[in-house]
Symmetry: C2
Subunit: 173 residues, 2 copies
DNA sequence: TATTATTGGTCAACATGGCTGACATAAATC
DNA sequence: GATTTATGTCAGCCATGTTGACCAATAATA
């Protein structure tokens, strides 16, 4: 929670905490823009050489994280239309990155998993992004990492945060 | 920097800091994805009702932040091709959000600024994003905000970070 | 002054990845 | 048996990125 000792260090008329000034909020906006672009940049480069895009990456990432998930699961994580997903997913299946298997309980379901080829690519992509985080985290220290996670979690819509908490209990510690 | 006291709380074989474990790095990846999506979502909704997209938003935002900037300046911030920018910029000029003025020193330059209409939209868009940040920041406190900023800054490519430091000295405190 | 570089723009074509709408099929469920 | 669910497909539209070619005005420089 806000530390009361950090307040009132500006002029008497400035009632807000230091980090709630307009310029600090704008800094948040800007840092998100620049950081997100670079965070995705390296992976985008690898993907484009393979004729794939960021949409393919998301599918590979989340299927890798949760093997044997259904298409429905993936749709509710990605929040795109099934037509959009279908285009990307079909491509990944055709190219041999993703394996589909009929559900045992519900035979309509296609359970998705990475093939060996998909796993190799997933590891490569996750690795470059993890390295970037490892470098940033090391440079900032554990307290900063905790703050980073806390703020990002609170930027997520409340209802979605609740969904995510159920789906990925470890996402918010 | 890394707090040595946070280490070695897991099994003897785990040598890494707690926040450098694979699962923590993956959490970073995932939080960035979900947070960025929701961070841009509300603004996207407002824009789409006006027949505009996120690309228009970026132009409006950065021109609002730095009035009378040149097209070159904008290109080097956005890092897109001038053809891509041209399409979006022409549209914004035609719709009366952006004003172009011939440069005094260099008459080739088009100095960009927001019109009254552009300013109104910029404030509306910045406001919804600032509110989200204000809410997240308040929920987390000042130390978390500092950590958030620190990590994001370190996710940015080093050379770009140097450029940004020159362009926007207040971006990194 | 003549040449070159910079700033900004245009046109055309293409790719990615969102979207909507309409429709089909198999399987589960009521 | 009727309905809902899970999934897929086709067709087309839109936003926004890309490349390549080319042009004009102006600034900087040899």
């Amino acid at each position: 929670m806000a530390d009361i000792n950090q307040m009132h260090k500006t002029s008497p008329r400035a009632q807000k905490s230091l980090y709630l000034r307009k310029q600090d909020l704008r800094r948040g906006i800007e840092l998100m823009f620049f950081a997100y672009r670079d965070f995705t940049g390296e992976a985008d480069d690898i993907l484009s050489r393979l004729g794939l895009g960021r949409a393919h990456h998301r599918v590979i990432y989340f299927v890798g994280r949760q093997p044997n998930m259904t298409v429905s699961d993936l749709l509710s994580i990605l929040k795109i239309t099934k037509q959009s997903l279908s285009r990307v997913l079909s491509h990944l299946v055709a190219e041999g990155y993703i394996h589909q298997e009929q559900g045992a309980r519900d035979k309509r379901q296609r359970l998705l998993s990475l093939t060996e080829k998909g796993l190799v690519l997933e590891e490569k992509l996750t690795d470059v992004q993890c390295k970037r985080f490892a470098s940033a985290f090391s440079a900032c220290g554990g307290d900063a990492v905790a703050g980073f996670q806390d703020v990002l979690a609170n930027l997520i819509n409340e209802d979605e945060r609740a969904d995510l908490r159920k789906r990925y209990p470890d996402l918010f510690e």
